[in-house]
Symmetry: C2
Subunit: 498 residues, 2 copies
């Protein structure tokens, strides 16, 4: 069923000499399919088809794009358990997670179909009634999507970036993630079938294999590309942002690059319900073996006996939680490396070390550090991608605010507090607000609901442009620009403006 | 009345050794005031005050920011004819233009006051009713504004960028334009008075003098700055964009960098009303001595006897139009240089050469070139800032489309046609749409109405980010980011979300 070939418009292609395989982290062995990395010529062909498709696809009425998106969801659903099996083989993630993520992906595709089916989203909120200017939003052009290692479905080939870009009227070229190229190919094939069934122009979608950085770099630099969507590491996201900014014609890059998601716990909350908080946060820290960009990597609280007690309970819970298989050997190695880097810093004590009994497996780890050391040492502000969290102990509320103010931009922040003390939390709320895109009260940051109220993004380095969200209907605004018709005859206006 | 000093928060400061004067282009002599360029310390102080002001200014209810904006308009109005005199001395522009531009500036300030007074603009169009997530827009932080040489009021110190940023909740630091530093100081003083009268935090506004590039560069690189608004040349805009993208924390730059604003005229229109079109376009090309970013610099039409006749009429009209004084010696020299560069290109004939009888004065010029040469020669695609236009002669409609497709991004495009032929214009409309932010039918591109339906921006290089507009209420979206409250207690929500 899987060919290892690139999907270039309606054609499968394998012209390159560079080959690679995906791995099953659970069995610690390669999967059978050989994937062919895209060549420069194949990249050019995908871009040229996308540019050509754009001229017709961008002008389709919303109802046609909606049928395409719904057809994609239907075709992916029709892959049935084969897709789930492939997903598990390439990610080591359990079946429940695979099914949940598939549901999220299908839901997103159908949500965007619903959004665009009648084109009203293209009319801005502010509009002059009866004036001679009519304003609308039009698509930017072909978009390159870089999928995430940790979401082979919901943030990859037919994930939120692809769904929102296709909904906007932009053709999409996916730079396939090397760790789940098979899952990617299956989804790409479903998208292609849907495009053919709904008579979309060839080139509205392509899927290019890549084992390293080159294919992605060539795509971002390509003249035919108008925008980039990325979910992944800060290192890779920033490199692509730099390439895009250095182009003769710079293009927007929306890169969601992760976060350490600070959680502030008040003394009252610790006194009243240390056990419950420890339990809830153990689940959040270890969920998906910690491989979420909203993983709570930082717990900030004031030093006290109760806090010491809370750390002990949290440590016990984390130690008692069974480990899990990480997505890939490279990710597990990266996790160990980052953890060891933190461990090596002065003043940091590792309360729970975490162990790795089987290949690619790990259990949770917990570090503790004082506020002064944390503020002074930027290494401690880096994301450790995995089931890791660090408690930062402030001397007092003042230092707690200083700790917050020392943080970089984040996707989320959370406040754990008693309802009786909310007024006293005004300054903490405001300090956190200046650093993040979403703030949670008495909850956990993991779990990013696909709703209009969601902001999934945040000040740099959480994302490259905090003015947009990667999740929910609003994420379509990344791929469109305003456009005004002045004194235009009705016959020349798009139908929805007539 | 004018001191030549920098306005740093509520203080006037002149610590620097670098001094300069503005010039009166009409008398071709320096104006009396000596201006003190801001030093690195003064820049730091303005940024530090702005960061401090942000923490309170960003949280004010809209109604307070509205009174500040209205007070700015009132204080500027109270400057009366002194401001008009200074404007004319520093720009050489006539009194009617000065008054018109002041009206536009005051109107914009009051428009943004009206927009933000009740905070409803901060609630996104798409919102989940009754969900546990509440989404709003919050300001980015201190914004640096670079004013335009050609709009000392409406696109400068208290122009659209400043008004929209202050409305959004962002403190503003203006990098004063060296050509109209006196006008800038008068407006800055009015803003400062308004800030004091309405009890705004010190640092909500500063105005820094600069004679060259250094002050602007230091501001864009400054850690305390969150975004940049710019109106000016492609060269300067791109340089600032590059600096902002290279920062450790990149920041958004909205630079509006001008355009050649193609105008397509059909053969039917030329046959029926060559005289009227020539007259209308003579007025548009020479308005403000051509010193508008929406000046029609390119007229595209098909070769024919009628076209030859139209060019003759247009040339006669342009020749008969009295010249005018340009804004500055440097602008007049730049105009002559660009015009001569075009003239030196093969296949270009200068139908109207334009003359310069008095210092800083010029009359209009008109060039003609064939489509093939235009497509092949990128020098001919550059903006000539002044009363200049070039007719590009296509062999047929197919070449006319190729000419459009060869263009870079533009602010506007215009179609001049007969109503009977609109259907046949579909392809031309779509081709132009892919290149511009606004398209005009049977009108002129000059004149940018301050209304919600306006898009003033466009694909690069017309602007650095086509997803925003620089004019109208929507321009506030450049300075804000989405933010979500999840499960938040009412007491901790901003009033407008309660």
């Amino acid at each position: 069923m899987i060919t290892g070939k690139n999907q270039i418009g309606y054609k499968q292609s394998a012209e390159g000499a560079k080959k690679y395989k995906t791995a099953n982290p659970v069995t610690n062995s390669d999967n059978p399919t050989v994937f062919y990395e895209a060549t420069q010529l194949e990249i050019d062909e995908a871009c040229s088809l996308a540019a050509h498709a754009f001229s017709t696809y961008s002008k389709l009425p919303g109802v046609k794009r909606a049928s395409f998106l719904n057809a994609i969801a239907d075709e992916i659903e029709a892959l049935g358990s084969d897709l789930i099996t492939m997903y598990m083989q390439e990610s080591g993630l359990p079946e429940g997670r695979a099914q949940g993520e598939r549901g999220r992906m299908l839901g997103q595709l159908r949500m965007f179909a619903e959004l665009v089916k009648n084109d009203t989203w293209r009319l801005p909120l502010l509009q002059d009634e009866g004036g001679n200017l009519k304003k609308t939003y039009i698509p930017l052009g072909p978009v390159v999507v870089f999928g995430a290692s940790n979401f082979p479905l919901a943030f990859s080939t037919a994930g939120g970036d692809t769904a929102s870009a296709l909904a906007a009227g932009c053709p999409v070229i996916v730079k396939s993630h090397p760790m789940h190229a098979g899952t990617g190919e299956m989804v790409a094939t479903a998208i292609t079938k849907a495009a053919q069934k709904t008579a979309m122009p060839e080139g509205v979608f392509s899927n290019l294999n890549s084992s390293g950085k080159e294919v992605g770099e060539q795509l971002v630099k390509h003249k035919g590309i108008a925008a980039v969507g990325f979910t992944g590491s800060h290192h890779a996201g920033r490199a692509l942002y730099n390439l895009a900014a250095a182009r003769e014609t710079p293009i927007p890059v929306f890169a969601e690059m992760g976060s350490i998601n600070p959680v502030v716990i008040t003394q009252q909350a610790i006194s009243k319900r240390a056990g419950q908080i420890a339990e809830t946060y153990t689940a959040s820290i270890t969920q998906g073996v910690g491989q979420f960009c909203t993983n709570p990597g930082l717990i900030i609280t004031v030093k006290s006996e109760e806090t010491t007690h809370f750390i002990e309970i949290l440590a016990k819970h984390l130690e008692a939680t069974p480990g899990g298989c990480m997505l890939h050997t490279r990710i597990q190695e990266g996790y160990e490396k980052s953890k060891n880097e933190i461990k090596a810093q002065e003043s940091v004590s590792l309360k729970v070390v975490g162990s790795s009994s089987k290949p690619n497996h790990t259990t949770a780890a917990l570090a503790v550090v004082d506020g002064t050391s944390f503020i002074a040492n930027k290494t401690l502000h880096k994301e450790v991608f995995g089931p890791f969290s660090m408690v930062v102990l402030a001397e007092d509320k003042n230092e707690l605010l200083n700790i917050i103010n020392s943080l970089e931009g984040q996707l989320t922040a959370t406040i754990i507090a008693e309802d009786s003390e909310t007024i006293a939390l005004q300054d903490i709320t405001l300090a956190l607000q200046s650093k993040v895109g979403r703030i949670i009260y008495n909850g956990v940051p993991t779990g990013v609901a696909v709703v209009d109220g969601m902001t999934h993004g945040g000040p740099y380095p959480a994302s490259t442009d905090s003015r947009f969200t990667a999740v929910g209907n609003h994420s379509i605004m990344r791929w469109v620009r305003p456009f005004s018709f002045q004194d235009f005859p009705t016959a020349l206006l798009p139908d929805y403006l007539k």
